[in-house]
Symmetry: C2
Subunit: 164 residues, 2 copies
């Protein structure tokens, strides 16, 4: 057993003062709690949040190059290499040669990757539903709308993809 309790759990009898008025602190508490639950819930699959995001994005956007994946995820190319290596080690992703550019590879989900992604997605959705179980459908919709405003959507961005 660890000496460390869940991150930022509220301790009775402690004054938090201005921290309780900051949106950033509330978001951080929530994110740490959900992240931790995700990692535990998906531990058996060896899937972390970034790995799951990469799997979903690769599955939905065929022929993605490693550099594109890095841009989409906002990480360095060297980080994308490590991420793709991990997904390849799990047998979920392969690097396919691109005839039109022999420097690059096309990231592809394997059959196993596609099959397991369905199961993993079910586990992720169950985790998400469990953690948000205290909110009803309308509250969830409200929360998503508010978070969408905060997370950088531009006023003129309708959120729809510009092509495909």
């Amino acid at each position: 057993m660890s000496e460390v309790a869940p991150y930022l759990a509220r301790v009775p009898g402690i004054q938090y003062g201005v921290l309780d008025t900051l949106t950033g602190y509330a978001v951080r508490r929530t994110q740490l709690r959900m992240y931790e639950d995700f990692v535990q819930a998906l531990a058996a699959w060896h899937i972390t949040p970034p790995r799951y995001s990469a799997l979903v994005i690769i599955s939905l956007n065929r022929g993605l190059k490693l550099t594109q994946l890095a841009q989409i995820m906002g990480i360095a190319r060297s980080g994308a290499v490590i991420l793709v290596d991990a997904l390849a080690d799990l047998g979920y992703v392969t690097r396919e040669p691109m005839p039109e550019d022999r420097r690059a590879f096309s990231l592809q989900l394997t059959e196993l990757g596609r099959a397991d992604l369905a199961l993993i997605t079910a586990a992720v959705q169950a985790h998400d539903a469990r953690v948000t179980a205290r909110l009803n459908a309308q509250e969830l919709e409200t929360l998503h709308g508010l978070l969408h405003k905060l997370s950088g959507a531009r006023e003129d961005d309708d959120g729809l993809p510009s092509d495909q």
Copy 2:
């Protein structure tokens, strides 16, 4: 200039699929964006979110021991040592001997720490207000209430300190 764009920024033309339906993903996007903005806004003060939380908690809860700070922040004692060392290097915190237990120290804010904390808090509040500028007062109140439900408050927890 870095090769890396802000983390998880939405890329036009990319399909995100199930990711857009997950509360955890929305919270993570928001948290990363706000965290990054905090760090930039407070860079001149050498204050990160954990350092700020520690400063506030030390200032509001006199005579705190390092082990208690670690428990409150949900980190290991070794991490609290590093945190307190950083705040001590900034001249904001001192370790005062506790006559009743010569193993322990009482964490105290210095005069400089108390004075600068007021200025730092103003900068933090300005950052928080700027990042949440797209939400009106009622939306902010709604968001805080929803996040509070998600971040682990128990049904029977009125949020009030049990003593002091």
